[in-house]
C-alpha cells in the first residue's frame, strides 16, 4: 500500500484533498488493483483449466474465441454469465441467498491483502499475516453454508453441510503444516517469511529439511480440500449433488462462486508459494545469475506451477466419499502434521 500511496502523490494537488479522502484513496485503489489482477488471473486460470483438462482427455478445448487457442473464451463466458438472468428461487431466503456469493468471494479476496507479490508490492505487512490468512480464508465456509441453506434445495443443503464439515476439518492439518514454517522463521509476518528464504532455491523451506517438505505435501492436500477441488470436491460433487451449494444460482451470482473458487485456488497457491517456495525470491542465487525476472512475475509463475498441479490432480483422480474424506483428515493428515511439527521443533531446538 505504501507504494500505491507514493504513486498517488503524483496526482496534481493531491495534498489539497480532504484528509479522509487521502486516507481512504490508497485503500480503495489497492482494492481495485487486487480485484483487477485477481479477475484477470482467474480468467486465465479457467482457461488453463480447460486446456489442461482437454489435453489430458485427448481434446483441444476452446479453440475459436479470440484467435490463438481460444484465449478469450473465458472472457466471453464471463460476459455471458453477467448478462444472464439472476434467478432467485421462489421460496428462497432472499437476503441470505443474494449475499452468499459475495461473502464467499470476500474471504478469498480479503486474504490477498497480506500476500507479498513482490519485494514492495503488498498491501499490508501484518505482523500476524499467516494467522490473518487462515482466519479470513475460512470465511468462505460461512458463505457456502448460507448459500446451501438459503437456496431451499435439498441438494444445496447437502452441499453446504458437506462443505462445512470438510473445510473446517481440513483447516486443522493445513494450519499445523503452516506451523512447521513459522517455527524456524519465528514470525507470523508473510514478508518476514519470504525474507527468510532469500538467496536461491536452496534457501526455500521446501528444500531446507525433509520434514518441511512433507509438511508442504500435507498443506497441499489439505488446501485442495479447503478449496473443494477433486479429489475432495464432495460439496459440489456433480454426480451426486448436481452442483452442490450453487445448484440454484445463475448469472452473475454463479459467476461470483466461480470466481471465488478460482480465487481460492490462487490464494492457497500463493500461500504455499510464500511459505514453501520462497515467494517472489529468485530461483538461482543472484551471485550466479543476475536477477532479470522481476519478483512479482516469478511469484506468479510459482503460483501457476502449484495451480497446474491442482488441475493435474483434478483430472486424473476420482472423488472420495464423505467418510473417507474425514478419515483422511483426522486419521492421516492430522497425525502426520503433528509429528512433523514436533520434528521441526525438535530440529529448531537441538540443531
Amino acid at each position: 500500500m505504501e507504494s500505491i500511496a507514493r504513486l498517488l502523490q503524483f496526482i496534481p494537488r493531491y495534498d489539497a484533498l480532504p484528509g479522509i479522502v487521502r486516507a481512504l484513496l490508497p485503500v480503495l485503489v489497492s482494492c481495485v488493483v487486487i480485484f483487477a489482477a485477481l479477475a484477470i488471473a482467474v480468467l486465465f486460470a479457467v482457461w488453463l483449466e480447460r486446456k489442461v483438462s482437454a489435453h489430458i482427455q485427448d481434446r483441444l478445448g476452446p479453440m475459436y474465441v479470440g484467435g490463438w487457442h481460444g484465449w478469450a473464451q473465458t472472457l466471453a463466458d464471463a460476459l455471458k454469465l453477467l448478462l444472464k438472468e439472476d434467478i432467485v428461487p421462489a421460496s428462497a431466503d432472499r437476503l441470505l441467498y443474494k449475499m452468499a456469493p459475495f461473502i464467499v468471494f470476500l474471504g478469498a479476496f480479503a486474504a490477498f491483502v497480506v500476500v507479498p507479490f513482490g519485494a514492495s508490492s503488498f498491501v499490508s505487512d501484518l505482523n500476524i499475516g499467516v494467522l490473518y490468512i487462515v482466519a479470513v480464508g475460512s470465511l468462505s465456509v460461512i458463505g457456502i453454508i448460507m448459500a446451501g441453506w438459503a437456496s431451499n434445495n435439498k441438494y444445496s443443503l447437502y452441499g453446504g453441510m458437506r462443505a462445512a464439515a470438510q473445510i473446517i476439518s481440513y483447516e486443522i492439518p493445513s494450519t499445523i503444516a503452516i506451523m512447521t514454517v513459522i517455527i524456524p522463521v519465528g514470525s507470523l509476518s508473510m514478508v518476514d517469511i519470504v525474507n527468510a528464504q532469500k538467496g536461491g532455491i536452496q534457501h526455500w523451506f521446501l528444500f531446507r529439511n525433509p520434514f518441511i517438505f512433507l509438511a508442504f505435501i500435507v498443506y497441499f492436500i489439505a488446501s485442495l480440500a479447503e478449496v473443494n477441488r477433486t479429489p475432495f470436491d464432495i460439496p459440489e460433487a456433480e454426480s451426486e449433488l448436481v452442483a452442490g451449494y450453487h445448484t440454484e444460482y445463475s448469472g452473475m451470482r454463479f459467476a461470483f462462486f466461480f470466481l471465488a473458487e478460482y480465487a481460492n485456488m490462487f490464494l492457497v497457491a500463493s500461500v504455499a508459494t510464500t511459505l514453501f517456495l520462497g515467494g517472489w525470491t529468485q530461483i538461482i542465487p543472484a551471485s550466479i545469475v543476475p536477477q532479470l525476472v522481476p519478483g512479482p512475475i516469478l511469484f506468479f509463475l510459482k503460483v501457476l506451477v502449484i495451480i497446474f498441479l491442482q488441475m493435474w490432480l483434478r483430472w486424473s483422480l476420482p472423488r472420495l466419499r464423505v467418510d473417507q474424506l474425514m478419515y483422511l483428515s483426522w486419521k492421516v493428515l492430522l497425525p502426520i502434521s503433528l509429528v512433523l511439527v514436533l520434528s521441526v521443533g525438535w530440529l529448531a531446538v537441538y540443531w
Binding site: 489435453h55 489430458i56 485427448d58 483441444l60 493435474w312 490432480l313 483430472w315
Partner: protein, 161 residues
C-alpha cells in the same frame, strides 16, 4: 497399524501412477475434429437425409409399406392411355403419376428399410446431416412438386434440397 501404512503407501503409489498416465496424455495428439471448420467425410453408406429422385419414382408405394414410422406420404393417379410412355432410368415403365411424395424427416427413424424396398432405387439415403430448421414443418420434404410444376404455375419457394 501395518495395514494403515500399507494403505497409505498403496494410495500414494496408485495416485502417482494415475497422474503419470494423465501426464503422458497431456502431450498426445488430440483426436477431436474442430467441427464447423473441419468436417469428416461421410462414408458412402451413411444413412442421413432421404432423397427421392422423383423422375425414377414409379409410385408403387413399397416404401410406405416398409416404413416403420409412417413418415412417407404418397398420392398417385393413373396416367392416361394417350400420354406418352415414360420409363424410369432402369427401364421400368412408369404407370402412375406421383402427385404427392412427402417425407417427414422429423418422423424418420433412419432405418433405411424404404431404400431397400424401392424397386427402381430412386429413394436413397444421402450423407447430408446438417439440416436443422426452426420450424418442424420445414422437415417435411415435398419431392413430387417439381413434377407438378409442368401442370401448375411454378411455385416460388421450392423446398427440395
Amino acid at each position: 497399524m501395518l495395514n494403515y501404512f500399507k494403505n497409505l503407501g498403496l494410495g500414494s503409489v496408485t495416485v502417482l501412477k494415475s497422474m503419470g498416465v494423465a501426464w503422458r496424455h497431456l502431450f498426445t495428439r488430440s483426436v477431436t475434429l474442430q467441427y464447423p471448420t473441419e468436417k469428416w467425410t461421410m462414408p458412402e453408406r451413411s444413412r442421413a437425409r432421404l432423397f427421392n429422385k422423383i423422375e425414377d419414382c414409379i409410385g408403387c408405394g413399397q416404401c410406405v409399406r416398409a416404413c416403420p414410422t409412417n413418415c412417407i406420404t404418397i398420392k398417385t393417379e393413373k396416367r392416361g392411355k394417350d400420354e406418352p410412355e415414360i420409363f424410369a432410368s432402369d427401364g421400368t415403365a412408369i404407370k402412375l403419376r406421383t402427385l404427392t411424395y412427402d417425407i417427414d424427416m422429423a418422423l424418420c427413424c433412419y432405418c433405411g428399410l424404404c431404400t431397400f424396398s424401392c424397386p427402381t432405387h430412386c429413394l436413397t439415403m444421402t450423407g447430408e446431416y446438417e439440416y436443422s430448421v426452426y420450424d418442424k414443418d420445414e422437415h417435411i420434404y415435398h419431392f413430387a412438386e417439381d413434377k407438378l410444376a409442368t401442370s401448375k404455375a411454378p411455385k416460388e419457394k421450392v423446398e427440395i434440397a
